[in-house]
Amino acid sequence: MGRSNAVGGGYGHLIRAIVERELLVFVRYPINALGGVVTFLALFLVVFLGGREFGGQAFADSLEGIIIGYFLWMLATVALIDIGQEIGREAQWGTLERHFITPFGFGVVLLAKSVVKTVRVALLAGITLLVILLVTGERLRIDVLTVVPLVVLSLASVFGIGFALGGLSVLYKRIGDWIPLVQFAFVGLVAAPAAGIDWLHALPLVHGSDLLQRAMADGVRLWQFEARSLAALVATGVGYLVAGYAVFQSCQRRARRHGVLGDY
């Protein structure tokens, strides 16, 4: 009886359950998910039409970079909001504590949910990107082997922030309402003029965005970047992720000491 040996073979079931739930909710409530795509698309069109009108040739020359930067910002924003607000929503629904009582532990379940949500967001962002390309008539030369690792490592730092904010929302559930404000900070981070300002590269998204812009604009391949530059990207990604996870664990321990884990 029981589930003593469930964990070993159970990670697959855990991931599958989370994927199935995301899909089911998406299919059952498509307006919610597609609403996000339409919003991002509308916002891009404002940027695109405004830039073409007033930016002239300079805008046209940097359009590829703008498109990929916008894609990264959209991905980061939606992933962060989803991860950060997930805990508050689960607490509201009354399901948060059930996710704690699993053989995997709360942190692993939340990490799995975050990864699955981000993949879902990436697919929607991909659709949005395709529509953007159709609207602008642009053709992106995407080197998958370069772009995917850069995007994943850039998003790792966003995951870290998401975990930290998620941890804070374990303690202060209403904080989730304020998380969308972070998207404005992300605009600055994705578009930061990082060249020549070393300390800016320590901020999340900045270095990854810079490398992505270079990859898109100058056709630099992953292995053509300086080793130091790639190491910095890995260090910021992993560093923020580990630090964010540590904040999350610390917050959930504090919440359990104070008996407020499931409160809303």
């Binding site: 159970g10 855990l14 704690f100």
Partner: protein, 344 residues
């Protein structure tokens, strides 16, 4: 019934709760759950509140135990401390022999809980999807469990609603879905907080009998917290009563009812002289003796030997005994007796 504190079953037990089965004695039977010296305080200094105060008990595998107590008695904090949702200040919890402090994930992976009543599931998923989801996140293979899930839906009279989105169901149905999703997870120890809340009488009765059947079939260990004493009486083998953070009684349901049944006798007699009444008052100082006209009513909180001594004394005084009543206690009366009449 009087509102005196309960008498200890065994004089040697001192401050221990009635009939307590502590961790030491239960270890031999390898129980499903052992709680030893669990203590939790909130706040500090003068504002500190001891929510759970040195609570110990052990629950054998396959049994159903009721956890009762007035509001603020510490039931929820105790349950959440056992589940790891609250970190206790001291004490230990062992689930299926696994120390929850040393191996929290392994220990807490053995349990599941219905803590939020009908708010325990995803309302945007169907009933079957919820069962599948919560079984999966507990590490079970949902495909292998699908037959058992169907059986659960049948047992809880939910089969017709299996493909319905939970948000469209009634409050009572949601409550049953919540229970089903907890039982779907293949946990060996299950905590149910108010499992019949919101159910109509028929559904409540069905659920009680099915719960007993499921427990017997799966050797499930269940801890039930409920305001409905009839649920506790029907479903539970044993009752743990908490008050002010402490366990004040820990007995089987029948022991608890029996002990209260023999604890108080009410005798109505006639034909007693004033001096005889005074003599009875003196001989039985714990008795409550009231006179109404020529009737004398004696209420005696006592053992059966005290009762027979009183009857003998009344006969010796040539009294005519009109009635003897030991009352018919139920869980409600026993609970009120133990906790001094607080709300649950």
């Amino acid at each position: 019934m009087t509102t005196e504190p309960p008498t200890a079953v065994d004089a040697d037990e001192g401050d221990r709760p009635r009939g307590s089965r502590d961790a030491e004695s239960a270890t031999e039977a390898s129980p499903a759950l052992v709680v030893d010296g669990l203590t939790k305080r909130f706040g500090s200094g003068d504002d500190a509140v001891t929510a759970v105060d040195d609570v110990s008990f052990a629950i054998d595998s396959g049994s159903v135990v009721g956890l009762l107590g007035p509001n603020g008695a510490g039931k929820t904090t105790a349950i959440k401390s056992i589940l790891g949702l609250v970190v206790p200040d001291s004490g230990s919890v062992s689930i299926d022999g696994i120390d929850a402090r040393e191996s929290p994930h392994a220990a807490h992976g053995r349990v599941d809980a219905m803590l939020e009543g009908a708010r325990n599931d995803y309302w945007r998923l169907t009933v079957r999807e919820n069962l599948r989801y919560f079984a999966s996140i507990s590490g079970a293979d949902p495909s292998a469990a699908s037959d058992r899930h169907e059986e659960l839906l049948e047992q809880l009279d939910l089969a017709a609603q299996g493909d319905e989105v939970v948000r469209n169901l009634s409050r009572g149905m949601k409550q049953k879905v919540s229970l089903a999703s907890v039982l779907a997870s293949d946990a060996s120890v299950v905590f149910l907080d108010e499992p019949t809340l919101g159910l109509d009488i028929e559904s409540s009765l069905t659920l009680r009998s099915e719960l007993r059947r499921i427990v017997a079939e799966r050797e499930l260990t269940v801890i039930v917290s409920s305001h409905d004493m009839s649920v506790i009486e029907d479903v539970c083998d044993r009752v743990i009563v908490m008050q002010d953070g402490r366990v004040v009684a820990d007995e089987t349901v029948s022991e608890l009812l029996d002990s209260f049944e023999t604890q108080e006798y009410r005798i109505v007699a006639r034909g007693l002289e004033g001096t005889a009444v005074a003599a009875i008052r003196e001989a039985f100082p714990d008795a409550d003796v009231t006179e109404t006209g020529d009737r004398v009513r004696v209420t005696l909180p006592a053992t059966s030997s005290e009762f027979y001594r009183l009857v003998a004394r009344l006969e010796a005084e040539n009294a005519r005994i009109d009635s003897v009543d030991s009352g018919t206690p139920d869980m409600e009366a026993a609970f009120l007796e133990l906790t001094g009449g607080g709300d649950r």
